[in-house]
């Protein structure tokens, strides 16, 4: 005689085991797909680095060699000597630095006003800013170009950096505003009662609390400015003022089939963003998350 309770226990254990097996199968599937996705993301980058360390003869060999042996660091030296990439790094660095500071400072000031202060026209202006995110850059590109040119700022960095000091873009203001909203209002209200001014509240209370969000905005501004292509393309004409992106493009024009050198130059252009990415990775995934859900 089989005890009915034992029977049901056995069957439920069997069900649980089947469930576990199914779960293990599912997880194996998940890992396999994750790995496939990772290969898709990383392989092109690996190929970039691999190709940048080979001689022209090696790079053209079929079937392809996977690991450069010996690695030719020489390519980097060559790439940097035929085109003044050092200069372009400096140019991009200066532009990026000014853009990042302008964006962080002015977007946080504005976001504070939109999140915390009551003033006439606030909601209307905020709506305008949000709507402007939908505007294609192509619409304003030409008048801005004409305007900057008439003012004599063509072939200078002014058109590339000044807009960053005027709010730093609706997206950043929006992101910071969302972040400010999550901070309890009591904090600044009690400071206000204690006699603190708005600037003090912004600088002493909100800024320290929103550091992660400011870092996010800073990183976005960094990426946007460092990777910008169209702006420098339109505004910069002398090659001594080129940014890294433009320099890379110029390099392509001059050495269009010397792939080993082109890959070395590309890898070098990529290095700063990779470094910033790994330093700030945690922050900016948070940042995207923040705008994404609320959007």
């Amino acid at each position: 005689m089989v005890n009915p309770t034992t029977a049901s226990r056995v069957s439920s254990r069997r069900a649980r085991m089947a469930g576990r097996a199914r779960k293990a199968g599912w997880m194996a599937c998940v890992y396999a797909l994750l790995a496939a996705g990772a290969v898709f993301s990383l392989l092109p980058l690996y190929w970039l680095v691999r190709s940048s360390l080979m001689s022209m003869a090696q790079i053209f060999r079929l079937p392809p060699i996977w690991i450069p042996n010996p690695p030719r660091w020489d390519n980097y030296v060559k790439a940097f000597s035929v085109v003044p990439f050092g200069r372009y790094y400096l140019n991009s660095g200066v532009i990026t630095l000014v853009v990042v500071s302008g964006t962080v400072i002015t977007s946080s000031l504005s976001a504070y006003a939109f999140a915390r202060l009551r003033w006439k026209g606030r909601d209307a202006i905020f709506a305008c800013l949000i709507a402007s995110m939908m505007l294609p850059f192509a619409v304003t590109m030409i008048p801005l170009f004409v305007g900057w040119s008439r003012l004599g700022f063509s072939n200078t960095y002014v058109p590339l950096i000044v807009p960053a000091w005027f709010g730093g873009g609706a997206y950043n203001i929006f992101l910071l505003r969302q972040f400010y909203m999550t901070i309890p209002r009591e904090l600044d209200e009690s400071a206000f009662v204690d006699g603190a001014g708005y600037l003090t509240i912004y600088a002493r209370i909100l800024t320290p609390l929103t550091r992660p969000a400011l870092i996010v905005v800073g990183i976005f501004a960094f990426m946007g400015s460092w990777n910008d292509f169209l702006g420098p393309l339109i505004y910069l004409s002398s090659s001594s003022k080129y940014t890294v992106s433009l320099g890379l493009r110029m390099f392509q024009g001059m050495y269009n089939a010397e792939w080993h050198l082109m890959m070395a130059a590309s890898a070098a252009a990529l290095l700063p963003v990779i470094v910033v990415f790994f330093i700030g990775q945690r922050y900016f995934i948070e940042g995207i998350t923040l705008t994404g859900i609320k959007g």
Partner: protein, 307 residues
């Protein structure tokens, strides 16, 4: 007593006035920026589009000529560029959104090393556009590129990718999937926001994984899908650098994207007025497409707690 009552609103009024002043002051950079870099240029652009402004600064008012020139087909590139761009949008947007959704779903599973995978999936997104173009030109090279080499090793047919008129747009669409990290992260955030108890409820009803996905995940994700759809659409209509660097718009103008066409009109042929008209048409098209998405959203976007 009376004085006190009168003073309180007065003080409140003074505070409100101060706050009003402070608000304007703090928001001044953004407000000015909007005026100087968005609204002003928009108005100027609209005005220019009715003129034949060239680079030398000479112009006269020509009414709707620029627009007529485009729509009448006098300008042989307008419809062509529009068609090329539409094809790209139609291919790349679903691919990007679908792949990003898949990645996000995977990242939402209880797997080890998720943050590492998340970083890896995001990594391509930060690569400078020019470098992305260079990398893919090399990968897609028909003779020596890795992609064809892998296909050959697997015994599959190879392709000319960006070097053939028929495959250039699919190739660029495929390439755009590589940089879909931002969309995936937004999806992931949406997935993590779905309350656990909803899943548990479906489990109790005897629903399997598929039914949980179908009846809980998808409906609750529709607002996020909607958001991503809108932003990706707007972005895809404005694709430029890839074609500019990789194909120069070729072969035979097969990748002459709309913004490339506009860029050429403005900066190579220096017809600024006409380029502004081209830009405004793009704006209207984007608005129309977005409005269409908004309009259909009633039918498929599900807002928690109803509307």
């Amino acid at each position: 007593m009376q004085a006190g009552i009168a003073a309180a609103p007065k003080r409140a009024g003074a505070i409100a006035a101060a706050e009003n002043r402070a608000g304007w002051l703090f928001a001044a950079p953004a407000a000015l920026g909007f005026l100087l870099f968005v609204l002003g240029p928009m108005a100027a652009s609209l005005w220019y589009s009715f003129t034949n402004l060239t680079i030398s600064g000479k112009w006269s008012f020509i009414g709707l000529s620029n627009y007529r020139n485009m729509f009448s087909g006098n300008d042989i590139y307008f419809y062509h560029a529009l068609g090329v761009t539409a094809r790209y949008v139609a291919m790349s947007v679903p691919l990007k959104i679908g792949y990003a959704f898949l990645l996000a779903t995977l990242l939402n599973q209880p797997a080890h090393g998720k943050s590492v995978f998340r970083a890896i999936f995001y990594l391509p997104t930060i690569v400078p556009g020019v470098a992305i173009s260079m990398i893919w030109m090399w990968l897609l090279n028909p003779d020596l590129g890795l992609v064809n080499e892998l296909l050959r090793a697997a015994g599959l047919p190879t392709s000319k990718w960006i070097y053939s008129k028929d495959t250039v747009i699919p190739s660029l669409s495929f390439m755009s999937v590589w940089t879909t990290g931002t969309i995936a992260v937004v999806f992931l955030a949406g997935l993590q926001d779905i309350p656990r108890h909803l899943y548990e409820a479906t489990s109790l009803d005897g629903g399997g994984a598929w039914s949980r996905f179908r009846h809980v995940t998808v409906p609750l994700m529709t607002p996020t899908i909607f958001f991503n759809l809108c932003t990706t659409l707007i972005g895809s209509f404005q694709v430029f650098a890839e074609a500019y660097i990789m194909t120069g718009g070729g072969p035979d103008n097969a990748s002459l994207f709309y913004v490339f066409y506009l860029y050429r009109e403005a900066f190579t042929y220096t017809r600024m007025g006409s380029a502004c008209a081209i830009a405004w048409v793009l704006f209207l098209i984007i608005m129309a497409v977005t409005a269409l998405v908004f309009k259909t959203s009633d039918r498929w976007v599900f807002y928690e707690g109803g509307r």
